[in-house]
Amino acid sequence: MNTYRKNAVIVGVLFIIATAFLFIGTAIYGPVLDNLDYLETAYPNRITATIGMLIEFICVLAIPLIPVFLFPVLRKHSETLAIGYVVFRLFEAVIFVIVEINKLSLISVSQHYLASGSADASYFQNIGSSIQAWNSWGWLFYVLVFAIGALILYTVLYQSKLVPRFLSVWGFVAALMIMTSIVLTMLEVDFNLPGAAFELIFAIPIAVQEMVMALWLIVKGFNSSAHELVLKSVPPLQTNV
């Protein structure tokens, strides 16, 4: 009997939504909000930027649902780590929302800059730079919390063998890589690589691993023998005859 088959399929779909919509959203609003002339382009292209943000907000719905559906499966193997995973992913979702709201505020700064007739540009540039500095820290923090959540998840998956161990090891190593990239970014060590390339090198392993694991969960589900081992270790109920 393969228990929690439905949970596995839902979790797989949610992983795909959380990862894919993040990249799609960034690809849409990135050229508007991340370019050097954002003060002049953000407000005129606000519809595009807002659509990109809304697509990313779908991730915010998916991110906390993943641990909700995984919790009943993981708690049988390690309740502490299962609770830890739920808390860290909820925390991740809240940080994500804060960063997204801050990004939207750049549209307002652009609006006021254009309304002022582009006068006193340095004033608006300072505000915009502060918001972007805030966002960059917030984003680093978000990725770090995500990496810690991933380490917790792959630890439980490795111990429980709910998915093939190569997937758990891959995820664990990829999460460590992304944590390393955060520390390097904070200390401004980039090995002379352009920013986007540096981020992609460390992000691609975890992104690909999550897609592979999502497809595995959808097609094969959790390893049923891992559940049977847990059930066998629980002593049978005493009944009075």
């Binding site: 808390v87 925390f91 809240v94 805030w134 923090f141 904070m186």
Partner: protein, 209 residues
């Protein structure tokens, strides 16, 4: 019922990490920011960028340690007092969140201070206004709210320790009294930070605890 020994030890280690991390972070931040007018603060930050970055890094670790602490307290006590354990977890997560948000503002001071120097330290200018908002408005206020949540979290956990007798009751009573006293300057600081220096004497019993 005695909780698993390893989890309790981990809990103690996490609590020590939170306290030591807080001391390191505050020391680094105070030394990087210094004192004086907001212009002096911007100058100090631009001269101590590495210290600021390390302080922010420590704050990041501190935030995660607070979340882990909350989780461990919940795991140890949820069977005995589910509601109080859940409330303490929520308080610790909120404390971590407010610290994260306030440190985002502190981080934004770094490029602002560099722009201030590049512009030739103009007085008065919008740099000072922005720095005031980021440092005194968001970072310091965020820190006050963080202190409120973490004090409430520790108050609830000390209550749990008192009723469960996991540690001698004298220590948990000391903790409850010390935190109640600490809450007074914390709440006063939310009203007006001018109360803080005088009221901090009430925080003394908490230090050795």
């Amino acid at each position: 019922m005695k909780a698993e020994l390893n989890t309790i030890r981990l809990l103690g280690a996490a609590q020590l990490m939170v306290i030591i991390g807080n001391l390191i972070m505050d020391t680094l931040l105070s030394s990087a920011i210094g004192s004086g007018t907001i212009s002096d603060i911007l100058l100090n930050i631009s001269n101590n960028i590495t210290e600021m970055r390390i302080s922010n890094l420590v704050a990041l670790g501190q935030t995660l340690a607070i979340v882990v602490l909350g989780i461990l307290y919940y795991v140890v006590f949820f069977e005995q007092h589910k509601t109080v354990a859940l409330m303490s977890l929520i308080c610790f997560v909120m404390a971590a969140l407010t610290m994260a948000v306030s440190k985002m503002a502190t981080n934004a001071l770094i490029p602002l201070s560099q722009e201030f120097i590049k512009a030739g330290t103009p007085e008065p200018s919008n740099y000072q206004t922005l720095a005031n908002i980021l440092y005194f408005g968001i970072d310091r206020r965020g820190n006050d709210i963080h202190m409120l949540f973490i004090s409430l979290g520790f108050l609830l956990t000390n209550y749990l320790l008192y009723v469960s007798r996991e540690i001698p009751r004298a220590i948990s009573i000391w903790g409850i009294v010390a935190i109640c006293l600490l809450l007074i300057p914390t709440v006063l600081a939310l009203y007006d930070r001018e109360f803080l220096p005088g009221a901090m004497i009430l925080a003394l019993p908490y230090a050795p605890y």
